[in-house]
Each structure stands twice: as structure tokens, then as C-alpha cells.
């Protein structure tokens, strides 16, 4: 009986935490929620693994950003510097 009550309590916590996992990983929850989610994902294998999947997806997506053309960025920085130095504003 004690195990059943404990299991139901854990399941209720899973249902509460799982919708918050992504916001937690995005650092978009308040402090008490962050602590609650962190505590739960450390203890719950299922939610911990789901959080890990989302974290790996986030990390893989972030790595895509490294592909921005550095030459285009360099040209834009030159353009911006020219604006700052000479106030050289072409007509739009």
C-alpha cells in the first residue's frame, strides 16, 4: 500500500514536471520551478532521459549556427564601421 501511494505521488510529479522540461532547459522558469524540475529529473529516470533528449536536440540545433558565412559578416562589419566613421548613408 505504501509503495502504491509513493508510486502515485511520483506519477503525479511526472505529469506536473514533464510539460515544464523544455522551458526549464530554456532557462525560462522561475527559481522555485527550476529547483523542483531539477530535483525531479535527477530522481526520475524517465523524465531525466526525456530532458536529455531535448538538451541534445537544443545542442545540435545550436551547432547549426556556426555555419553563418563569416565573409558576409565581415562585409557587414565593414559597412557598419563605415557608417560609424563617416556617416556615409546611402539612399534606401
Amino acid at each position: 500500500m505504501k509503495h502504491l501511494v509513493s508510486w502515485m505521488r511520483d506519477m503525479a510529479e511526472c505529469r506536473h514536471v514533464r510539460p515544464l522540461l523544455q522551458s526549464y532547459l530554456d532557462d525560462a522558469v522561475d527559481e522555485s520551478t527550476r529547483e523542483r524540475v531539477a530535483r525531479h529529473v535527477a530522481a526520475c529516470r524517465r523524465c531525466g532521459r526525456e530532458a536529455k533528449v531535448y538538451a541534445e536536440i537544443k545542442a545540435a540545433l545550436h551547432r547549426r549556427g556556426a555555419g553563418a558565412d563569416p565573409e558576409a559578416v565581415r562585409r557587414l562589419k565593414v559597412f557598419a564601421s563605415r557608417l560609424a566613421e563617416h556617416g556615409d548613408v546611402p539612399d534606401l
Binding site: 529516470r45 532521459r49 540545433l61 545550436h62 556617416g87
Partner: protein
């Protein structure tokens, strides 16, 4: 008179150098997300830089990134209006057509190898554009939900919903491709 104009130019240049120049890289990456074409993105950022230069003397110095993203977004909208007036007011139906997030399921393991990023890329490419934009701004560019909402001109909750659903769709694709394994329970 000439002296005061020179002083104003100096103030403008100083503010532009302080608030705008450090964000050039970010502006280009966000522009890429909006236009999806490097040449268009470069043009958009040039226009944005010129508009920022003209407006910087009226900028109060608070939240420069949000200020710049607003200029970028408005410049992008104006360019679209000029180019594609008939397409501009397309309603957003994509949200309602997407799967509901599945709260159930078993524990999952991620298989990380050299193909994982390629699989995420492929799943990302299959997302509707609105979802790509939201997840690109948050995960690739590192914007907050609020900053992304600013760029996309939608409520913060819409960004949150799009990002979460996008990642969930990617997770499902990874699972179907065998990168995420169903495992045991608690």
C-alpha cells in the same frame, strides 16, 4: 553651427559603435532566419544598420538588442510589403495543424554519434517555416522567448508553443530514425 553638427555626428557615431556594431553578427543570423537567403539577409542587415544609424541619437540606451531587433523586424516587413504585397497577410494556420505534444511514453535514450546532427538537420528542414523560425531564433541564435517574440511580432506564448512543438516533432523524427531508444521506466 558647423561645430554643433560635428558634435552631433560624433555622439551618433559613438552611440552606434557602442550599441549597434557589437550586434552585427546577431543581426545577420536573425536576418538569415527571416529571409532564408544569405544575399537577402545581407541586404536586410545593411538596411537595418542604416536605419539604426539614423535613429540612434534618439535611442535611450536601454535594451539595445530589443531596439535593434525591432528595427530589423520592421525593415523586413517593409521590404516584404514592397516585394510581395499579396502574400503578406497570410493567416497563420500552421499552429492548429500540428500534433499535440504527447505527455506519455517511456524513458528514452539518445544515441549520439556522427549522424545525430545530420538527423536533427533533416528533421529541422521538414518543420513548417514558422516553427523553423521560432526554434532557430531560440536554439540557434540564443534569443529569449521574449526577444524572439519581438522579432516575429507574435505573443511570447506563441513562440514558446512553436519552439516546444518543433522540438517535439524533431524528437519524434529522431525516435522514428532510431536515434532515441525507448527504455525502461522509473
Amino acid at each position: 553651427m558647423r561645430h554643433s553638427e560635428a558634435a552631433a555626428d560624433e555622439v551618433r557615431a559613438e552611440a552606434f559603435t557602442r550599441y549597434v556594431l557589437p550586434e552585427t553578427n546577431l543581426l545577420f543570423r536573425v536576418a538569415l532566419t527571416l529571409t532564408r537567403q544569405p544575399a537577402d539577409a545581407e541586404d536586410l542587415v545593411q538596411d537595418t544598420l542604416v536605419r539604426a544609424y539614423r535613429a540612434v541619437e534618439r535611442f535611450d540606451g536601454k535594451h539595445p538588442r530589443a531596439w535593434l531587433l525591432t528595427i530589423l523586424r520592421n525593415t523586413h516587413l517593409n521590404r516584404n510589403r514592397r516585394r510581395r504585397p499579396a502574400l503578406f497577410n497570410d493567416p497563420d494556420h500552421a499552429l492548429a495543424q500540428l500534433d499535440v505534444v504527447d505527455p506519455g511514453g517511456s524513458a528514452e535514450d539518445v544515441f549520439l554519434d556522427g549522424r545525430f546532427d545530420a538527423a536533427v538537420d533533416a528533421a529541422f528542414a521538414e518543420l513548417p517555416q514558422r516553427y523553423q523560425q521560432a526554434v532557430a531564433l531560440v536554439d540557434i541564435e540564443g534569443l529569449t522567448y521574449q526577444e524572439a517574440a519581438h522579432v516575429l511580432q507574435v505573443p511570447k506564448g506563441t513562440v514558446l508553443s512553436r519552439v516546444h512543438r518543433a522540438r517535439n516533432k524533431i524528437r519524434k523524427r529522431l525516435k522514428a530514425a532510431g536515434f532515441v531508444r525507448r527504455g525502461g521506466g522509473r
